[in-house]
């Protein structure tokens, strides 16, 4: 590495970094992208679901060669107790469309593909290179980065930090504060392989159709969190995650939680006979709007997970990552064309543009949800039990008359949570949801 000067340096080659680097390189900017892994994706973990619309705005014909697993035609939302689940399922043939809306993907493969596009667009990618700090001029403006490669300094007009949820560069340079344990979830995940015909018959699928299951309830042992199971072409991604501060308070191990989830009577038959080929763990930013750090400064921009851009309620993250990356890239291109300086004031255009998109609108909409979920553990313990018990009482035919069954169900809710408690929970949820 020499004293070469770039228009922009992108730290990280995940969805947000790739979106930013691609957008700038395609418009002819001189872009250097730095990735600490051996190849893009080697450090990255996701469920994973790809939302087509965010990628379409960057690479419209991505379906031609992107490594996609299955397009999602069915969503199952489960509330679970130890022996049962009650579910809301939505399956539609409308999702079998010419340009499907959501796909399951395998991140290591997808990130490699996206990175190939970035390099084809003209960006320079250096892997196995960890950025250790930001370089600044005497006024404090960021002018480049230092890396752990020998000689290590590179300079640019602007540095885009796409370094992920556990990104150290921005934080250790004082651009943002330490991530608080109650604003991130720790998720663990396994990849289970099965022949595609088995997956298709087990999940009632044909061809490339796919199913996703999102689950909550006693599976997280009273902690704030969710489980998931996604069908890939020849594998199943299964995982579970909870807020880090809850893990700190509980004796539970993440892998113990995953084992219990896999052995739940509703999940176990879906995985029967599969071979596990990888165990992964990663943090997920879940602090929402209130946890978003400062996003721009003199010579720097933050995108993706590093900016806490995850919509935890809808399990969306990679689309927010790609969109923030794209808009950061477009902002830099716009300033570059105008020959404007990459100052904090000028880069604020990025946040102005973000405000106009679904990203900031959704983040704002759900800004009270993290506190609601974290402060109302009933959602993960008591309510799942009440719902599943009510369902059992309703469906079990045992000679008890229906009016008595109704009374019994109503009184189970009143006894365990009181009318005021029930109303209060409903009111708080409605207010947080607004």
């Amino acid at each position: 590495m020499s004293d070469e000067h770039f228009d922009a340096i992108v730290v990280g080659a995940g969805p947000s970094g790739n979106a930013a680097a691609y957008t700038m390189a395609k418009e002819g900017l001189k872009v250097l992208q730095l990735e600490r892994g051996e190849y893009p994706g080697s450090k990255n973990v996701q469920g994973a679901i790809l939302y087509a619309s965010a990628l379409e705005q960057i690479i419209p014909d991505f379906r031609e060669d992107a490594p996609l697993e299955r397009h999602v035609i069915e969503q199952r939302m489960w509330t679970m107790d130890d022996a049962s689940h009650v579910g809301m399922h939505y399956r539609s043939n409308d999702f079998n469309e010419e340009k499907p809306n959501r796909y399951t993907i395998i991140r290591a493969q997808f990130d490699k593909w996206f990175s190939r596009k970035v390099r084809d667009a003209g960006a320079t990618l250096l892997c196995e290179t960890t950025v250790t700090e930001l370089l600044r001029d005497s006024s404090g403006k960021v002018i480049g980065v230092r890396t752990d490669r020998n000689a290590g300094k590179v300079f640019a007009d602007v540095v885009i930090l796409a370094e992920g949820v556990n990104g150290l560069v921005g934080q250790r340079s004082g651009l943002r504060s330490e991530v608080a344990p109650d604003t991130v979830a720790l998720a663990v995940k396994e990849m289970h392989f099965l022949p595609r015909e088995v997956i298709e018959s087990r999940f009632n699928l044909k061809g490339d159709e796919g199913v996703v299951i999102e689950a909550m309830g006693t599976i997280t042992k009273g902690m704030t969190g969710t489980g998931f199971l996604y069908t890939n072409e020849e594998s199943i991604s299964v995982g579970i995650g909870c807020i880090v501060s809850d893990f700190a308070e509980n004796e539970t191990t993440p892998y113990g939680l995953l084992e219990a989830f896999k052995n739940h009577p509703s999940i176990k038959p879906l995985l029967a006979g599969s071979e596990c080929k990888e165990y992964a763990s990663h943090l997920i930013p879940e602090g929402g709007y209130n946890a978003i750090p400062r996003l721009v400064g003199d010579g720097w921009i933050v995108v993706g997970d590093a900016g806490q851009f995850v919509n935890a309620v809808h399990r969306e993250g990679s689309n927010l990552a790609m969109t923030t990356g794209r808009i950061a890239g477009e902002t830099v291109v716009w300033l570059n064309r105008r020959r404007d300086e990459m100052t904090k004031a000028n880069l604020t255009e990025y946040t102005r543009r973000l405000e106009q998109t679904f990203v900031m609108k959704d983040m704002k909409k759900y800004r009270k949800i993290p506190d609601f979920l974290h402060g109302n553990k009933h959602v993960f313990t008591l309510y799942p039990k009440l719902f599943t018990n009510a369902a059992q009482s309703w469906f079990r035919v045992d000679g008890v008359d229906k009016r008595s069954k109704e009374k019994q169900i109503m009184s189970s809710f009143r006894k365990s949570r009181s009318i005021l408690g029930l109303l209060g929970d409903a009111f708080k949820l409605a207010r947080a949801w607004r």
Binding site: R36, G37, E38, G41, S42, K43, N44, V45, Q46, A48, I106, R107, A108, Q109, D111, C127, E128, T129, T130, T147, D148, R149, V165, N166, L168, E178, V179, A180, P181, V184, L186, V188, E190, M191, S235, V244, F247, A248, E249, N250, E251, T252, T253, P254, Y255, G256, E259, A260, C276, K277, E278, Y279, A280, S281, H282, L283
Partner: protein, 101 residues
Amino acid sequence: MIETTHATGMKVEEKLFQNRYLVDAGRPHIKVLPHDKPSKALLALTHACPAGCYAENERGQVEITADGCMECGTCRIMTAKTGEIEWNYPRGGFGILYKFG
């Protein structure tokens, strides 16, 4: 690797065995700083670390063997306030190498 068996009877080592790593021998990227008695946060890592890297020794201190680390950062964030561990990413190219992610 520290042997860590838990209530489910399952060893986390069996899970980590599936994974690919390039270990930077002799240069651990995480260190537990010398201490007499671990804080509650540091002690919690013995169950919260998803790779089971942390264990309590016979003197009641917490030790780390970082070979199975998946670089998630949970331990860093949990002990950020107490400052009991030193956390850096492995050198470029080293550490976990996800095949699927």
